[in-house]
């Protein structure tokens, strides 16, 4: 971009307009879209975490929806047990998903490439079938969260859109956090592993542990997104951890641009918006999305973010 | 010696993307000839070879093989005309066994009295016979080099091109390769050789080309080059 100052200020501009949106929406008759944007932000959190391990770490996990589901069911479990604090529930979502990611990652990271794709998928499928048969939490029918979780103190009821701002704040933190980490020692090491793992071993890096740390962090953040999604939908069902959901998440990240700062949110925003709009107009709403994927593959192979970012602004894409 | 060149290059220019590496190369290789292509690192030897075999599309100029233009032809087409290459970096196929490397592309096309058969190739490199069932990526570096040479020979090429084919080989094996090339020459095999062991190469070659920054800085008979040591230090860093 020709205006470096503008580029530096862009994140703040985006943040500010997102923060103002709920206040302006009623005047514009867009109330519904407050909820829509909220969901978009939550999915973007999950996508950012996938972008982190896939784009920077080269770990193509096809089971990310599994962690989202674990987070969501952690919330369900707490609600079922009588807890009602949102922070507790989301914290639990983060932690439990992190633990699952540690266990699954410890096994999966022994494999590479397509084997890694498939073993992460296998674990996610196990989680899916587990959730389907869990009677206490509704099994396939899902579990409704009939009373909203409490944010505590003055937050509840201060404004109908408090939850929106909370999500926005979390998303901003996650997003800034991942961008920050990408430029740290750890982020550089992760990219080194993506580009040449053997060399990294020979340089003395504890490659396995570094990858596992990234995988756990990403899994935990995906779990957090799952917890938020549970609150957002007031409903949790196994279908959110079906393998196609994992695939969709991958697709959105790649659509946006692997390993690019703006990749995940852009991909999520475009995909979900298109889905929303197309569905309203036709029953045949899948094929335009399919065409979009082909277009991106052949005409914007680095993803959409690459079209916007200044040349060389990429954060090391192969 | 036959007057019609087997390979003729005229005004050949090539490069990678925007950067030009070769500038107007003119040279011929006549049937039965062994030509040495010399030059320091990065002067364009491998690029020349890649362009000849269709791995790189020339930006200008023409290449004739046996009188037919091939500069616009696809690599596989050129290969089927009878050009075989031992590329820089061996490039063995990781998922083919040694034996498969030697039978998959085998062809008889140069009408030589004694064509390269599997048995003869194993005779040349007994090591490969011992490793016949190994995959391409389960070989030592030198074994891979032997395999790359044998693979090229298995097609019984009309023009054999060797790019640093003695790289990574034990001295005894290098000697073996030189002996083998001499034998091939005696049988009339046309060959283009790039190699850093100039002292070993020159006695074998009929003629030599020296590349300097993508241009032919000198060409002539190898005997002449042998005599002019100042060219060696100027162009070859020896």
């Amino acid at each position: 971009m020709r205006f470096p100052g503008f580029a530096r200020r862009l994140p703040w501009l985006v943040l500010a307009s997102l923060a103002l949106f709920p206040l302006l929406a009623p005047a514009l008759g867009l109330e519904y879209y407050v909820g829509f944007v909220r969901r978009l932000l939550i999915v973007a959190i999950a996508a950012s975490s996938l972008n982190f391990i896939l784009g920077y770490g080269g770990m193509a996990a096809l089971g990310h929806a599994g962690f989202i589901g674990v987070g969501a069911y952690a919330v369900v479990a707490l609600v079922e047990a009588g807890f009602s604090s949102a922070w507790l529930a989301w914290g639990a979502a983060l932690a439990v998903a992190g633990v699952f990611a540690a266990l699954i990652g410890a096994v999966s990271l022994r494999t590479r490439g397509v084997y890694f794709i498939m073993i992460t998928l296998a674990f996610a499928q196990m989680l899916y079938y587990l959730a389907v048969s869990l009677r206490t939490y509704g099994g396939d029918d899902g579990y409704g969260l009939y009373t909203p979780l409490r944010l505590g103190a003055w937050l509840d009821g201060a404004h109908p859109d408090v939850f929106y701002w909370v999500v926005l704040a979390i998303a901003a933190l996650v997003f800034a956090g991942f961008s920050r980490v990408a430029h740290s020692r750890y982020g550089h090491a992760l990219r080194g592993i993506r580009d040449n793992e053997t060399r990294m071993v020979a340089l003395g890096y504890p490659v396995y542990r570094l990858k596992l740390a990234g995988f756990v962090a990403a899994g935990a953040v995906a779990g957090l997104a799952g917890g938020l999604l549970a609150s957002h939908n007031a409903f949790v069902s196994p279908s959110m951890m079906h393998w196609t959901q994992s695939a969709l998440l991958l697709v959105m990240v790649m659509l946006g641009g692997l390993g690019r700062r703006w990749g995940a949110p852009l991909g999520v925003a475009l995909w979900l918006t298109l889905e929303e709009v197309l569905k309203m107009h036709t029953d045949y709403w899948h094929w335009p999305l399919g065409m979009l994927l082909l277009l991106v593959v052949f005409h914007a192979p680095q993803g959409l973010a690459a079209l916007f970012e200044r040349r060389g602004g990429q954060e090391g894409v192969r | 010696m036959n007057a019609v060149p087997l390979l003729r290059c005229r005004g050949l220019e090539a490069g990678y993307g925007a950067s030009r590496v070769l500038f107007g190369l003119d040279f011929d290789i006549r049937p039965g000839e062994v030509v040495a292509l010399l030059g320091r690192n990065g002067m364009g030897k491998s690029t020349t070879i890649k362009t000849l075999v269709g791995g790189l599309r020339p930006q200008y100029g023409e290449i004739l093989f046996d009188g037919r233009p091939i500069h616009a032809a696809r690599a596989d087409h050129i290969a089927r005309l009878g050009v075989a290459i031992v590329p820089e970096g061996r490039q063995c196929f990781p998922n083919l066994t040694v034996r498969e490397h030697l039978v998959a592309f085998a062809a008889r096309r140069n009408g030589a009295a004694e064509p390269w058969t599997l048995a003869r190739l194993y005779g040349l490199f007994p090591r490969l016979a011992e490793r016949a069932g190994h995959m391409g990526n389960q070989l030592s570096g030198g074994e891979q080099q032997m395999l790359a040479i044998a693979r090229a020979l298995s097609t019984n090429p009309r023009l054999l091109i060797l790019d640093e084919a003695t790289e990574g080989l034990a001295p005894v094996i290098r000697d073996e390769i030189w002996r083998c090339l001499a034998l091939l020459k005696a049988q009339g095999q046309t060959t283009l050789v790039v190699d850093k062991y100039v002292e070993k190469l020159l006695p074998l070659a009929d003629r030599a080309l020296i590349l300097e920054r993508g241009r032919i800085a000198w060409q002539g008979s190898s005997a002449a080059l042998d005599a002019r040591r100042e060219l060696w230090s100027r162009y070859l860093g020896v």
């Binding site: 550089h188 060399r199 340089l203 192969r318 | 080989l169």
Partner: protein
Amino acid sequence: MSLFMAVGLVKRFGGLLATDHVDLAVEQGEIHALIGPNGAGKSTLVNLISGLLPADAGRIVLDGVDLTGLAPHQRVRHGLARCFQITSVFRNDPVRDNLLLAVQAQAGSSFHCLRRREAETALMDAALALADKTGLAEVLDRPAGVLPHGMQKRLDLALALAARPRLLLLDEPMAGMGPEDSLQMIELIGRLRSETAILLIEHDMDAVFRLADRISVLVYGRVLTSGDAAHVKGHAEVQSVYLGTEAHA
């Protein structure tokens, strides 16, 4: 006691005994060359020592520390660094980033994730020093993948040097180099003698005879003989299985 000792190393690939009870010692300040026919097991031996391949039997001791059970990256921590037979650098990154990555591996934990690396001047200084030492200072901003071959090899060596090794394993550092680059490389390796002991694999006999204090000959996975250049040149079996006419060079 020697700086480095490999004792009874064994490696099998299926039915193939690639490393057959190899004993090897490298002394402090020594350049120890390892030569032998193709497929004798030299690269395998380096992989066993550096830990990229697990050994079936045997022990590895560096400076009195037993490294046998350690993972490859832990061995690097103990002073065992290596280069690769096929150049292995980060091709898309500039030379500077390559060096930074190598330096960073030694400079404390790589789990730091909040401080921007650009802000860490100590890392940068170390990387620049390394570039000076290996003659890469001019090309710091070029992507490693487009460097001339000789430069890439030098970068590969620089990456290994960042670990401040006590034993450096070099697998065919001269491969693919013309005479000029080879000379530079020989000179560079010679200069390293003061910093680290070196185990050198090379088929370029010129380089071997010029650099090596001691030469071991590996044949069919076993050490055939060990000694100085004259001993090896004069050894009849080495001549027939490996040196050929080079023995008289």
